[in-house]
Symmetry: C2
Subunit: 379 residues, 2 copies
Amino acid sequence: MKEFNYYNPVKILFGSKQSQIAGILKADGHSKVLLVYGQSSIKKTGLYDEIAAALKSAGIEFIEHGGVSSNPVLSHARAGVKKAKDATAILAVGGGSVIDESKAIAAATASKYDVWELYEGKKPTDALDLYVILTVSATGSEMNSGSVLTNEETKEKLSFGSPLVYPKVSIINPSLTATLPKEYLVYSAVDIIAHVLEVYFTAEEHPKLLNRFCENIIKSVIKTTEDILKNQNDIDARGEFALCATWALNGLTSLGVGEYSFPNHMIEHSLSALYNVPHGAGLAVVLPAWLQWFYDNTKNPQVERFAKKIFSQKNAQNGIIAFKAWLEKVGAPISLKDLEIKSGDIDKIAENVDFVSHRWGLKEEYPYKSVKKILKLAK
Amino acid sequence: MKEFNYYNPVKILFGSKQSQIAGILKADGHSKVLLVYGQSSIKKTGLYDEIAAALKSAGIEFIEHGGVSSNPVLSHARAGVKKAKDATAILAVGGGSVIDESKAIAAATASKYDVWELYEGKKPTDALDLYVILTVSATGSEMNSGSVLTNEETKEKLSFGSPLVYPKVSIINPSLTATLPKEYLVYSAVDIIAHVLEVYFTAEEHPKLLNRFCENIIKSVIKTTEDILKNQNDIDARGEFALCATWALNGLTSLGVGEYSFPNHMIEHSLSALYNVPHGAGLAVVLPAWLQWFYDNTKNPQVERFAKKIFSQKNAQNGIIAFKAWLEKVGAPISLKDLEIKSGDIDKIAENVDFVSHRWGLKEEYPYKSVKKILKLAK
């Protein structure tokens, strides 16, 4: 086991009424907040009206910053910073994109930085308090200190992290996720599984306890995804799914494992940056291809363990096949073709990965050539 | 799944050098601390000298409060409060007893309460900052907000909890536990398993993910206990064991399970209060007896699951037998006789449980008669 530091001060209110956020903001001394949200869905579902009414009745003024896109972009975050000047807190109502952009606005506003400086590595010195009402369980951003944003001019999708942007409070109410279209549920499942697998496969060490934690999250995601696809109103399954999403990327799965990396995310971020595909859809295409490449090149025994524990397969190769078959079964795309990306674009994608990977501090085992090979396996 | 709130702001430095605590205290603005520790072991191992030297070289004054007993007592905690007057923080160097007494001193000093008022239910209004260097992995107190203390006059062992007494920082260095006598390692293992099993068996609901997390921790404790007993210097096993101890009672295992109770701890606390037996030793005696009683009375399917998942037994009864056999194998006491407690004392013990249980808000299913039955199974 490796040394580690663990710190996660986010307060999770799970299953709680979202309207209580107004009382929490008030008790924390906030009277003017930036209300960040995405497209029109929270207006359709009535969630917007509910939150707005609760804020008004608590005497909390709010400045609106709607329209966050599913791959949040720099220009929109910059616009948020302009609006946030007089606010002391941000209330993010949405999924990972809304939270990630909110983290950017929170840190850039209080640190008086341009937003992109954060993603270029400048450490924030302060951040507005961030509160979250989660409507999509997938990225885990509601309980971590990371954020991903796309610079639409340079076609870079980069990340930053700081303990300053941990949300103060995140309300996770699984019933709010019930209106999510089926394909987005599947993308979310893939994202959660990917978060776990990046650690599971790339970590320096694999303490048994951590291997088991990882496998159990994946098992629960597989089972609850199938349950929810059968019955959209299975709130118990939605609850366990939501728990998996949050705990998959809040630090639990990486305790004592040493260094690890996010090769699948890195490759996928180029797909999102270039083609604006949903993050989970891109991951579904990259994951099996990367895993095949990883196994062919390393024969890492974790792949055999994965095959055995998750898909009851006797060997690694059959495990990879079973994984891809499961993705296909639940309706995820499994090839670049499924994403309507031409195989002739592979060079261009690999170049973007190569360009961006320098910023991500990618390990040397992912040079241009390897990424091309992985993408070819995803044709 | 049930609603829940989760909040745990403790910063864990795992595997780190313990001497860095001086720099952390200084950075947090503390110049005078109460140094709380137990018996002579930290002087023998050199840990005391190491910490004292680090504090001195950082210019941090410390007031000594050694001599915490393995079941910490009220009079000693009160003495600590008298010494803590000018301190702004407490540095606890030891295991669960030292940390629990430190929490009492931290809250009573800053809230200006008598220590026992906390255990009688008066909510603290403030607490001194608490820092921990852990030398025994067992109780999980290094990453939770609870504390147990014995009133040696009234023979009551009670608990209190408050977010104010979460340690700010806990340094967990598994190599510090290597000097612990073998029997205390076993008692620690039983304590960790008991923390998990109380939730596992008594919770209102059992989301699959949580069932599996609980089973993962128990499996790891069983395996690493055996590994350490074979080789005292197996630092990898000690690391995983330590991780289990901390994560077994930091809130992870009870996410979404609803209400649960601590019947085994409650009964054991009477054994500790009356006979001053080590907590883990008492638990080893109570657990199989309670489990037998629980299964006989409820036929709760969790017992069969436990038998299957932990001991690969086909039915619940064989699982209980296997559990007891494992406890015996690793050298834990498994009867009151093993603790040198006469079976004629059962009435007296049950009376103490009954007396104290009113303060613990014990569920109605544990009246005097039931506790007597459980204790008879432990003869």
